[in-house]
Symmetry: C2
Subunit: 283 residues, 2 copies
């Protein structure tokens, strides 16, 4: 336990990703974090847009909550690469104005009706290459997030940490890092070695945790669960992240109909407890 942590206090590295409490506005999420002693908040562009960047930044600062990431840019694979680039430059601007260190990127899936996976991957890498100088100038680190292979077609053609590492190679680590999310990678036989490789290159830009639910719900996007409710053993991956020297926030990001339907204050209370039980001992 860090020296500055009081007995019973919320773990200082725990951060809420605001999609976990999706029905809360950004103001409510910032207040909720303050109420539960959660020091970090990963914000979403949709929620920031409701009140504007300046007000979003001030709300979080007033609540004493760090903005740990902006979610999310990416979706690079659309047929209109110029539009994708423009949207991502806007996201970079927002991240810079919010003062958050990291813009999380989801690569995007196959365009409707396309089966050209190789082409989509190539297009994504090209838009990324076009975006990096802009982000670098703005002082925003991009964080590529590989998503679970079940989302490869409709959401993210970037499927493994190994592939993410390959995509980052042309760029300095300070400009392009990787977001490691337990939900997406837990199944990978090479996951511990890959986390070590990401860390060795100084590209471990963000660590997100949530569980993988079985059976997968009818909407596969909502298979994420509170830590402890699914099949993931958080110890090995969290220890690998810690062994890699990562000392940043650990965001809890859950897409789940039951979690969204629950009282957000209860969700935060559960999140604090589960984090202490399953994540904190391994950090």
């Amino acid at each position: 336990m860090p020296a500055d942590r009081q007995a019973g206090a919320t773990h200082p590295r725990l951060a809420l990703n605001q999609w976990t409490t999706r029905r809360w506005s950004l103001a409510e999420a910032a207040d909720g974090c303050a109420r539960h002693g959660v020091r970090g908040l990963g914000v979403w562009r949709e929620k920031v847009a409701e009140i504007g960047v300046t007000r979003a930044r001030k709300l979080c600062a007033d609540a004493g909550v760090d903005i740990t990431s902006l979610c999310r840019g990416g979706f690079f694979t659309s047929a209109d690469s110029a539009a994708a680039l423009a949207q991502n430059k806007a996201a970079v601007d927002e991240a810079a104005e919010l003062g958050t260190p990291v813009l999380v990127l989801v690569a995007g899936g196959l365009p409707d009706g396309s089966v050209d996976l190789a082409g989509a991957r190539e297009r994504a890498r090209q838009v990324l290459a076009d975006l990096v100088p802009y982000a670098a100038s703005a002082g925003v680190q991009l964080a590529l997030e590989p998503l679970h292979p079940m989302y490869c077609a409709d959401r993210c053609v970037l499927a493994t940490l190994d592939q993410a590492l390959a995509w980052t190679q042309p760029f300095p680590a300070e400009h392009v890092g990787i977001c490691v999310d337990t939900f997406h990678i837990w199944w990978d036989p090479q996951v511990l070695d890959q986390i070590a490789a990401v860390a060795d290159e100084g590209r471990l830009a963000a660590y997100q945790v949530c569980d993988f639910l079985v059976p997968i719900p009818a909407d596969a996007l909502l298979a994420r669960g509170m830590m402890g409710d699914g099949v993931i053993d958080f110890g090995p991956m969290t220890r690998a992240v810690a062994a890699g020297g990562y000392s940043g926030p650990v965001e809890v990001e859950i897409f789940n109909a039951d979690v969204w339907a629950a009282d957000p204050d209860e969700v935060l209370a559960t999140m604090v407890r589960r984090f202490d039980a399953l994540i904190a001992p391994c950090l």
Copy 2:
């Protein structure tokens, strides 16, 4: 087109996996294959058990249909390794009596309530090691089938061709090969290199094709579709299989509620057409 193939005839390497026409008995499936000119049939243990091994073999022989594989053994990860081994020895016996060259193995998932993925993988490898000598004596090649990572928890802890290759290393290729199924591996950034590696080792024991449907249906197990109905580009993987020297049957295995509800004869007619359009040109 092979020299023995008449214009308009069904492709000689096309095989039906009988789960595609699940409501057909084995006798109906064998007759259906004969009616549509399909020369190979991958049979399932449940269907064989309904009539017995001897009768199953005779039915297929009388219909002029080769039994291309037996599905399936495996499920090695249960807490009771001895029972898993015994069940798999019985499956080997059936494969030998059927005269089929390949027994397809699905590793199994996590036992209920367990999050010990590493332990389940270790257990699976141990049961496999115990099974290999028995299968080798019986002249049956085991074919490890990596399944899509979305089934890692509840069905198959073996998730990639690379991992399957690692599992096969202690054993000669003639005893332990790999079943390559487009549905499970299409998303893998390394899939073409991995198919080549499997082929280089002489372990390409079976090739199964079907498409990946988006969105994933409410029961994720039924996300398989007829070739051309989903997001898979069959060309690159099929060409890689061909370049690796594979000259065996290509089974069409589809788990899909709509396909199961359709007239099986229509399913076979569609299968023959789609195979000609999407698979045959790449073989």
